[in-house]
Amino acid sequence: MTSSPAKHARISSGDRKERMTFHLMLLPGMIMLLIFVFVPLVGSLMAFQDYVPARGLFGSKWVGLENFEIIFSFPDSVQVFWNTLIIAFGKLVMNAIIPVVFSILLNELGGKYFKRTFQTIVYLPHFLSWVVLATVVTNMFSLEGPINALIGLFGAEPIQFLASNQWFRTVIIGTDVWKEFGYNSVVYLAALLAVDPGLYEAASIDGASRFKQILHITLPALMPTVVLMTALNLGNILNAGFDQVFNLYNPIVYETGDIIDTYVYRIGMVEGQYSIGTAVGLFKSVISFILILGANNVAKKTTGSSIF
């Protein structure tokens, strides 16, 4: 922008001072972003090197795409890729549906205090880390745990959920939704507050039932938010949740539960193959970036709202 004196004149010195304060408040965040997001980007170069920590980023040998070739030659790389997609997709879908349903149901309830209390309670698990929750989940789903006790009431054989390839993904997706739906519904509850109560009034005067009102007023009002949130989350489609899976899996369920991140952890960190670990990470980021751009375009076209 060229600085025209007219524009300058419009900002009084008091205004500028005030803006300065806001900019200063932004500064710590920007510095964090710089240090923890932009600077580490340089490290992506490792993906094209035979990286040796002692030689450093600029002393290590360049190997072109060799690391990527190695990754795709692993017998299990396809399996790991699919596991990631399936788990992440399951989470994406369920994390959209459940919070929406929940917030609509909660919205229909009367009683401000009840609503608030309930919202807070379901919100709580979000703040616990998977390291802690994994112990809870393991105990819940163990042979002597409450879930198996419940199944036992119906006379069924106990199931080792966390050591069963039929159940593992379901448990992962289910527990993730349980942990996050309270938090995820906050956005939707906020969107619902913005709906003009006049619409409901008019609809009920016209004789629409509660259900019809949900279908024709509440849901359409939520749709842009749903699409936007899903578009945002699509960038995470290759993030199936490292800390959750890592704390719950075991070699028996590698077949259905080993995801890119846990795989990279074992190769990159445990075996010290930094270059290969970085190559997988870079590959993931590129795919995520393409997906976000795509989803953003779709969102723009269908609902008119987009992130950028």
Binding site: P53, D76, S142, L143, A163, N250, P251, I252, Y254
Partner: protein
């Protein structure tokens, strides 16, 4: 900076560097230049005596290993102003040998120190004498021709303690084998104490209650575990006890993985997770051998019958400790130091549990088949062309032998610093016999039996002795001893006595290290292996999948790695 200044500065820098390199070359090439015959003889005498004192101060550059305890442990002691170049150890060495270290770098031993070593090697400028922690680095140094041949130094100057210590590991596992390249000894290896064999740890009070004998074979072990499950050993009238707990990794890192059940495999002649020597003399990977099938089938049956924990695959270490400390389980496999595990200390406190280490399951000859651990834990190397290569050996001699026998006032500081611990000995290389833990127990036992006097004990041994006395006194008075004393006593005295009296067969792995392809392929192969092993044990797949796994393992890089391993061994 203007140009004139820049020019002057560059010139100055160049001159300084030139002068420095001239002086350092002069020193390194001929230390005896310009000396009289007498002086030369004095230097030669110093160089050929294991503890010879140099006529004049010899300064050597080195990398200094610090302990991770932090310098503040020295605060308030007379040593708080000590530095890595001037502390009890360096003063002692100066007094004794007239040598002084000058540190090229200082770091806490472990990754920090190793990184400094790597950097020194990458720059091609290594200190005169230094400790390197891993084998790959040593190979790197040998191949890049940066270090001196120490064969003569070792043969002429190593003290008896050091020589005997190396020999105590047996011919096959002698640490010197690792540092010998083309028949030349290229480094002085630091020794790693032998960890001994794994035992079957059982609740003695349960055995007694059910009137059972200590098991020995696999069948007897199975019978005891079955009784532990079915006959209500804790006497609470409920069917709530289980058989054997199993580490979720099943095997590996012998014997350091408490709860891992390698012994069940080795009893049947299988050696998973290590490189073993095949009949034709080549190295092969133990986990993909035919011998694996029998133990896997046995474990699969045990799993079906509930002899081993049904949920072992999803248990964390804490879960297992929980099962044992709550008295649900009275059997696990672990090393002689298992009494330090919380699983045991908590049952001692709460449950009146009595634990005993039993040699089971045994192999065909009635002994436990165990796996030897690495015999080395680092190496001391000397820069090529360093004028006093023998100095490295002398410091190791002092560290391993002389200082321990030195009861004079000079050594007092060193003894005190060993318990304070922030500075390590320069070079960080103590050479001890592999069975040092057994030897120490033997000394303590001699004192307890009245065969020797308590003053003969080293400070370390005296600590164990005092623990044992405190434990026995408390027990005699009908009280609970301190948990720490319980652990120290049970591990060092009864458990160790069994280790001495019931020796095991030790298999020395053909190869301990890693190769180039291992780095990128191993995670994938290991995944394949663990998946197969766990699925066979839990009965999700039957034993025939083992053959498929072996095929796939070989194709996915296993064969390449096996070739590489054999190449490295052949070197």
């Amino acid at each position: 900076m203007n140009r004139k200044w820049l020019k002057a500065f560059t010139l100055l820098a160049a001159v300084t560097m030139g002068v420095m390199s001239v002086t350092s070359c002069g020193n390194a090439n001929d230390p005896t230049a310009g000396m009289t015959e007498e002086e030369k003889a004095a230097w030669a005498a110093a160089a050929s005596d294991p503890y010879g004192k140099y006529p004049e101060l010899v300064t050597y550059t080195t990398g200094y290993n610090l302990t991770n305890q932090g310098s503040d442990v020295l605060a308030g002691t007379p040593y708080e102003n000590d530095t890595p170049e001037n502390n009890a150890y360096t003063r002692y060495l100066k007094e004794l040998l007239n040598v002084q270290n000058e540190n090229a770098f200082e770091a806490v031993s472990g990754p920090d120190y190793n990184q400094k070593v790597s950097m020194a090697i990458a720059s091609g400028d290594i200190p005169d004498i230094m400790h390197v922690a891993d084998y790959e680095t040593l190979v790197d140094l040998v191949e890049s021709d940066l270090i001196a041949d120490l064969t003569d130094v070792y043969n002429n100057l190593a003290c008896d303690t050091v020589k005997a210590a190396y020999e105590s590991y047996g011919e096959e596992n002698n640490p010197l084998n690792t540092v010998t390249f083309d028949g030349k000894i290229m480094a002085i290896p630091k020794t790693q104490l032998s960890d001994g064999q794994d035992f079957l740890w059982l609740r003695k009070d349960w055995l007694d209650k059910l009137g059972l004998e200590e098991p020995s074979t696999l069948e007897e072990m199975e019978a005891v575990l079955k009784a532990f499950i079915e006959q209500d050993p804790d006497g609470n009238g409920q069917n709530d006890t289980m058989g054997l707990v199993v580490h979720s990794d099943v095997y590996g890192d012998y014997p350091n993985n408490t709860f891992a059940i390698d012994n069940v495999f080795t009893a049947l002649g299988a050696y998973p997770n290590i490189w073993i020597t095949a009949e034709d003399g080549s190295a092969v990977y133990g986990s993909v051998q035919e011998e694996m099938k029998q133990p896997l089938e046995l474990l699969s049956r045990w799993y079906q019958d509930g002899i081993i924990d049904k949920e072992f695959a999803t248990r964390t270490n804490d879960d297992i400790v929980g099962l044992i400390s709550t008295g649900k389980c009275g059997a696990f496999i672990g090393p002689w130091w298992a009494p330090f595990n919380q699983a045991q200390t908590s049952t001692y406190g709460s449950d009146d549990a009595e634990w005993v280490n039993v040699s089971a399951p045994v192999g065909e000859d009635g002994k436990i088949n165990a796996i030897s651990t690495k015999s080395y834990a680092g190496f001391v190397v000397v820069r090529k062309d360093f004028a006093y290569p023998e100095l490295a050996m002398k410091i190791v001699n002092v560290n391993s032998e002389y200082s321990k026998q030195d009861k004079t006032e000079t050594a007092a500081e060193v003894k005190e610093n060993q318990t304070l611990a922030y500075f390590n000995w320069p070079l960080y290389c103590e050479v001890q016999p592999g069975n040092n833990a057994e030897i120490m127990t033997q000394h303590v036992l001699d004192v307890m039996d009245g065969k020797a006097d308590a003053s003969t004990l080293t400070t370390e041994e005296a600590g164990y002795y005092e623990s044992a006395v405190r434990f026995l006194e408390a027990e005699e008075a009908g009280q609970k001893a301190d948990a720490a004393d319980y652990s120290q006593y049970t591990a060092r005295i009864p458990a160790m006595t069994r280790m001495i009296n019931e020796p095991a067969n030790f298999l020395v792995p053909a190869f301990f290290e890693t190769t180039d392809s291992m780095g990128s392929r191993w995670a994938s192969l290991e995944k394949m292996e663990m998946e197969t092993v766990l699925k066979i044990i839990t009965g999700e797949q039957d034993i025939s999948t083992f053959d498929t796994f072996v095929e796939e393992w070989k194709k996915a890089g296993g064969d390449t790695i096996t070739e590489e391993v054999n190449e490295v061994i052949a070197k």
